[in-house]
Subunit: 172 residues, 2 copies
């Protein structure tokens, strides 16, 4: 492992977001075939008091860039939540990945000891080495998996392999 | 970080399983209040070709113990998938956590270089240091979040805080 807090954030987020983008591509085909308005799909949700698909994707993007940025003490790029189509969500994912790809393992050298504050918890802080496994990773996957679950629930033609994506395997 | 492959597996799995168990406890109350058979809830699913709640929980348990065990080259305890109630699933989670809690960071010292084989990929292997972030963690959260999503979808009174659980935070 080069820098564990890099290894368990940046490439993990990039991979899951890449896979999510591909799922949204299949959702575009679904909308075209079924003659469903994309705006309808973007508002689909699993329960009336859960966030809809569009928000799940936006939050996954925010979590990925926010978590990585907080670990190295920089400001993440701000995004306006102004997306109105699947294509625009895919562009947002691209921008999020492009930001993540500017980060280097070296920048995460002291991340375990960084104090991290979240607006919902005033006058409290996490330490980076606990923040990532306890909060950053579970929260990120919450939104990525919920987005997948919404797509599956409405009938988009995706499966577990679309969620897992490509894997680093070696021949015996 | 003591041992990164420990830090991003055992305590992460224990926390998420602890939270999942508490959600199943609220699901018991839901069944009692709504006069829903537990066997009906255990078979609830988000799409007709997705696994039902019971299987999501069983697989989350299998992933947690299997991933941790593979990283240190031991056999995980076998469980029979014979659960028939929410209580029995909660006991399975307890047993899974009890196994995880026998593992020590020290055992994960060489885990990054361990060759890991999965039955679905014959004649191929992962290396532990890639297996955990690329496969183990995303796969585990897939099933934990899907279980949560099923519970939310049918109306069990849980929310994001039940998923996140307690967090290590410090006063400023």
């Amino acid at each position: 492992m080069s820098q564990p807090l890099y290894d368990f954030s940046v490439p993990v987020f990039v991979k899951a977001l890449t896979n999510l983008k591909a799922q949204l591509g299949k959702a575009q085909m679904f909308c075209a075939e079924k003659k469903v308005e994309e705006s309808t799909l973007l508002q689909a949700r699993l329960a009336i008091d859960m966030f809809p698909l569009i928000k799940q994707v936006q939050i996954a993007s925010d979590n990925a860039k926010g978590t990585a940025a907080r670990l190295i003490g920089i400001e993440p790029p701000k995004m306006e939540d102004a997306e109105q189509s699947l294509s625009e969500l895919m562009i947002r994912i691209d921008k999020t990945i492009a930001f993540l790809e500017t980060l280097t393992p070296e920048q995460f050298r002291d991340a375990a000891h960084v104090k991290i504050r979240l607006p919902y918890f005033p006058e409290k802080h996490f330490l980076g080495g606990e923040f990532l496994p306890e909060y950053g990773v579970p929260n990120f996957f919450f939104h990525v998996v919920t987005a997948y679950a919404i797509l599956r629930h409405v009938g988009v033609n995706i499966g577990k392999a679309d969620y897992m994506g490509s894997l680093s395997m070696y021949n015996d």
